[in-house]
């Protein structure tokens, strides 16, 4: 094993590594939001849930000595945030977007408040599985360090796709999301379904936060999240409410995020602010390319307050 001079190959390699390392939080938050939005609600508070999940995951991992217990704690905290959102939105004439923003600020505030004593200590990290053992090149090996949560994310993606497509639960969520009236006439309780979907979505956002604080970059700090939770909401729309597309979109954002540093490291050193804007330019470009003045967004859940 040795350091090899990779030249320009460093860029695609960094993008591959970045896609694996950076995408996981996007993936979990967007899967959670996808589930929530498919049930007809939008939870903009996931950024707050993510930050709180990062803090609680880190704190519990530090206190218990086990990173996985930390992940569970983050999921639990996220569930509570989600259930709270779902419960408040159940009340008549409550706007889910406004509640989401309030919860986002609440989650961040609480996380900063309770997280103060945990900025300094070092909590155990989540383990990574090395898929690069076959390579002689240490950079390849480093890029293929895959965290277990990323793999769980892939499994979840497929499971969620299968659930929406083939199962009764998936059908119930879709019906509730598309038409409250239809769901009621089928004897379903839309509020209950949305409550549970928002709770599950919150749990996934909490896990995304735990990934940030327990694996990459792997420490709790108030500046830890750079808006992954907010961006994931946009990702879901970008992914047309499909879990599988959420996965690809998350990978794309992860890879694009690695592009800026990688290009500087091989010598394309001017204009790095421009490189850093690439993920957003890309999103904007794709959204414009896919939009049409003649039809509404396809596959958008009918009850969603932003598309109604």
């Amino acid at each position: 094993m040795g350091d090899t001079d990779l030249g320009l190959w460093a860029v695609p390699l960094a993008m591959l590594g970045g896609a694996i390392r950076v995408s996981t939080p996007f993936l979990f938050v967007s899967l959670g939001e996808c589930l929530t939005e498919r049930s007809g609600r939008i939870n903009l508070g996931l950024e707050g849930t993510l930050v709180f999940g990062a803090m609680s995951g880190y704190a519990v991992a530090y206190e218990s000595g086990s990173a996985w217990i930390g992940v569970l704690a983050a999921a639990g905290a996220g569930t509570l945030f989600g259930l709270f959102h779902g419960w408040v939105c159940k009340l008549p004439r409550v706007n889910d977007i406004a509640i989401g923003i309030a919860l986002m600020l609440l989650g961040m505030g609480l996380a900063f408040f309770f997280g103060k004593p945990y900025v300094q200590p070092q909590a155990p990290d989540l383990p990574a599985i090395s898929f690069g053992w076959w390579s002689e090149i240490s950079q390849v090996e480093a890029a293929l360090q895959v965290n277990a949560l990323f793999l769980i994310g892939i499994v979840l993606t497929v499971a969620m796709w299968w659930m929406f497509r083939f199962t009764r639960v998936g059908l119930i969520i879709r019906v509730v999301g598309d038409s409250t009236d239809a769901a009621r006439s089928m004897g379903l309780n839309p509020n209950k379904v949305r409550l549970l979907a928002t709770g599950a979505g919150g749990a996934l956002a909490g896990v995304a936060g735990a990934y940030l604080s327990l694996y990459y970059p792997g420490s709790w700090n108030e500046g830890l999240s750079s808006g992954q939770g907010l961006m994931a909401v946009a990702l879901v729309i970008f992914a047309r409410w499909s879990p599988v597309n959420c996965f690809w979109a998350a990978l794309l954002f992860g890879a694009a995020g690695a592009l800026g540093p990688a290009l500087q490291s091989v010598g394309f050193s001017s204009g790095y602010y421009l490189f850093y804007a690439i993920p957003y330019v890309l999103t904007l470009g794709l959204l414009i390319a896919m939009s049409s003045p003649n039809r509404a967004i396809e596959s958008a859940p009918g009850e969603l307050s932003i598309t109604k």
Binding site: D3, A14, Q139, P217, N221, S226, Q264, S265, S269, S270
Partner: protein, 373 residues
């Protein structure tokens, strides 16, 4: 319906009146405690970030321990109009007479907007921006020359590197950051002139994921000693050590984060600077508008050398350090070019660390791989 609205309005009025009364009632108490000096510290990030803000907060803690001084602190204040509100609230509600807004971006336009409105309050800004002919007299800037600290970092790095490539994760291409990058390389080149330094700018003072990506990109390029100039070096230190690279610290002592890989670090020593200034103010004196100092003035200190530092490195480090402690060390010495081939200084010309010309540094010296724009 009208009745209801009216009563609510009255209620609000009553509330405002009570609030105003309460404010009136409490304000006269403040001058009664006038012997007390209230000092405000504003940080751009969390004050226990293992970095820039922690270094300032350690200084604030030393001020807090002084007699007759009340310290108010606010952290996570962005470099926006938010800092103007923080300063005004410290002045109007806490009665602060001396403010330390510690982030570079707080000065222009924020301190420049608030200072003329509060002529009795002193604004001490950390950064190199105050100038006598342009800026209010009740503002001032102070800063340490930490470049020589990075130079000493570079010496340990020069001995530790095997690939002859060292790396620097930098936030923004401002003069202080560029000075650190240049000094780090020049220190390493004092060991071996073949060493190069790869720099990656993240564009922000605190951006955890991007800092981790930048560190990984440097490690991918074979850089085996990495340092940084970002607000919280924790992520860079942990990521670099995780990739097997040696680390030089910055701002504060990060050796607990990577005890085996930590070589040394350039740390601020604000406690001395702040207690001096507060002492001056309390004694009724005037704090100079322009305060500077480096290693030899006690503004900056070095972390204890780590276990990975070889004897040869230790000897050269100590020798150069005692040279620096005499004062007047020349850091940019001609003949020297920038990394685009332009001459910075011809043979015979040199800049000491306190040369004002270095405060508008806009180049990277030859051997640094990177660009300032």
């Amino acid at each position: 319906m009208t009745q209801k609205n009216l009563s609510r309005r009255n209620l609000l009025k009553a509330g405002v009146a009570t609030g105003a009364f309460a404010a009136l009632a409490t304000t006269p108490f403040r001058p009664a405690l006038a012997a007390d000096l209230t000092v405000g510290f504003i940080y751009v990030g969390p004050k226990d970030d293992f970095g820039y803000n922690q270094a300032h907060a350690e200084g604030a803690a030393a001020v807090k321990a002084m007699d007759g001084v009340t310290v108010v602190e606010e952290e996570n204040v962005p470099e926006t109009v938010a800092v103007q509100k923080s300063m005004e609230s410290m002045i109007n509600f806490d009665g602060a007479q001396l403010l330390f807004p510690t982030s570079f971006g707080y000065f222009d336009p924020h301190i420049l907007a608030v200072a003329p409105k509060n002529p009795d309050v002193r604004f001490q800004h950390a950064g190199g921006l105050w100038s006598a002919d342009k800026h209010p007299k009740n503002a001032g800037s102070y800063f340490g020359y930490i470049g020589l600290g990075q130079y000493l970092n570079g010496i340990t790095a020069g001995h530790a590197t095997k690939s002859k490539k060292i790396g620097f994760v930098a936030a923004k291409p401002i003069p202080q950051v560029l000075m650190n990058i240049n000094a780090f390389l020049l220190g390493a080149r004092a060991v071996d002139p073949a060493i190069t330094c790869q720099v990656i700018f993240t564009g922000e003072w605190s951006l955890a994921v991007k800092e981790a990506e930048a560190t990984n990109a440097l490690a991918d390029q074979g850089c085996d000693v990495i340092t940084c100039h970002v607000d919280g070096p924790k992520v860079v230190v942990e990521t670099a050590a995780g990739r097997g690279a040696y680390v030089c610290g910055y701002h504060a002592n990060q050796s607990p984060l990577a005890p085996e890989k930590y070589l040394t670090g350039a740390e601020w020593n604000w406690a001395q600077v702040y207690t001096d200034m507060v002492e001056t103010r309390k004694a009724g004196g005037t704090i100079p508008n322009f305060v500077r100092g480096g290693l030899s003035d006690g503004f900056v200190k070095m972390s204890p050398l780590g276990p990975a530092v070889s004897d040869a490195a230790r000897n050269q480090f100590e020798a150069e350090k005692s040279e620096i402690m005499k004062g007047g060390f020349l850091i940019i010495k001609g003949p020297i070019n920038d990394n685009k081939g332009n001459v910075i200084a011809p043979a015979g010309k040199a800049f000491a660390e306190d040369d004002i010309a270095l405060e508008s540094m806009n180049y990277l010296v030859e051997g640094v791989i990177g660009s300032v724009s």
